[in-house]
Amino acid sequence: MSPRTPGAQLPEHPDWLWRTPDPRRSYDVVIVGGGGHGLATAHYLARNHGITDVAVLERGWLAGGNMARNTTIIRSNYLWDESAGIYEHALRLWEGLEEELDYPLLFSQRGVLNLAHSLQDVRDSVRRVEANRLNAVDAQWLDPRQVKEVCPIVNISPDARYPVMGATYQPRAGIAKHDHVAWGLARSADAAGIDLIQNCEVTGIDVTGGRVTGVRTSLGPIAAGKVALCAAGHSSVLAAMAGFELPLQSHPLQALVSELLEPVHPTVVMSNAVHVYVSQAHKGELVMGAGVDAYTAYTQRGAFHVIERQMAAALELFPVFARAHVLRTWGGIVDVTPDASPITGLAPVDQLYLNCGWGTGGFKATPGVGWVYAHTIAHDDPHPLARPFCLDRFTTGALVDEHGAAAVAH
């Protein structure tokens, strides 16, 4: 007697939102990496530029890398004009993305607090608020009492080890459901005729006479007029295949969720000084992220003492979490640049395009990246918002130094 098939009593799996095509032998554009950035780029190549002879190659399953591992915080309160430009562009796209994709993304503009714990934090934060306002990014400076009004569970006692001396507040910031974002973008790209090809690992990049001609993959060679990298932590590995190096270091970045709790946390709270950021997902989990693990690795897991330190920081800020249980922890591999700003634009090889170095903060940029990267690819020229983030800034010295200055939680 054969055993009953597990799950046989369950309803049929719903239809997929996209096809599962075999790769063709040639495409106008091949995007390497089927995460949020790759899918958004495909979506905007079709939507803004009418380019649909496109394949998105994903070595695992769609949006199973950092897109599945991030803490989904969306904000645009960066210090420098260049950063405010691209992240605010992204935030404005987020505000219309559900309608654009006709798909629910659970985009919730519940605001973000970036806490200040020292006099220098306060000075830097106030400076950033003013810089944000000059760039038409909504920003306010809140004193501890106002912080408590926005988020009643934050501990503002002056006796804390790192007391809350105030916070910047961006009301338009928020969170979204990362899977839904990926599915909505994938469905849109697929409907435009773009091939989303999963379980297809790129093993080589063919370059002839300084120009890219195609990729070799686990499913055979694919010729390409243009190749656009969107591979986050593995960007250095791909660049090596094309014969150049990138100023990136790949680090594990860990995050965790608690068990499901009643709604207790109405906003997003980030603290650079104590290295933690916390929000509560729609379903009820507290979602927390840490800083990167110190050493480079591709292991998609990190060390427990980093999580422990992160928990200590979270408890200091939110004593109410003391009895919450950790449900699971995980790690993703983030590619960090020397100035904590992304690299997006042209590569040292013709018809090859770079989008990497988003480090710990790529999710918030998803639609903005898709928009500007699609422009860069379509015109073989960086979008004006991407121009400051070209690779050559490391030679010219025109860095966009967002380390710490812009509430980047590294």
């Binding site: 590995v237 090596a240 100023p247 990136l248 050493y295 480079t296 003492h305």
Partner: protein, 92 residues
């Protein structure tokens, strides 16, 4: 948590160590003679392989000495450790 074999103290918890990045990156002999490209490479470009990586560690909460290790960044396996000044071991 990695168990890192300090060449002076033996295997100790990762939490005792500081990470120093890629090993064997000498300061340029004549920095003023470098082109912008060469200076950028020295300042900003470090190897980022998925595989064996020679790197510096400091046993900060132990003997406080720097040493080198070859670690496989894909598995975190430490393939060799060696003291500063010793040649990099050949990893088969």
């Amino acid at each position: 948590m990695l168990l890192i074999p300090c060449p002076w103290c033996g295997p100790r918890d990762e939490a005792e160590f500081g990470y120093g990045g890629q090993a064997h990156v000498p300061y340029p002999e004549d920095p003023t003679a470098l082109t912008d490209e060469e200076w950028a490479r020295y300042l900003f470009f470090r190897n980022n392989p998925k595989g064996p990586h020679p790197e510096r560690w400091c046993h900060a909460a132990g003997c406080r000495r720097w040493f080198n290790a070859v670690r496989n960044t894909a598995t975190n396996e430490i393939l060799a450790v060696y003291r500063v000044g010793e040649p990099r071991p050949v990893i088969v």
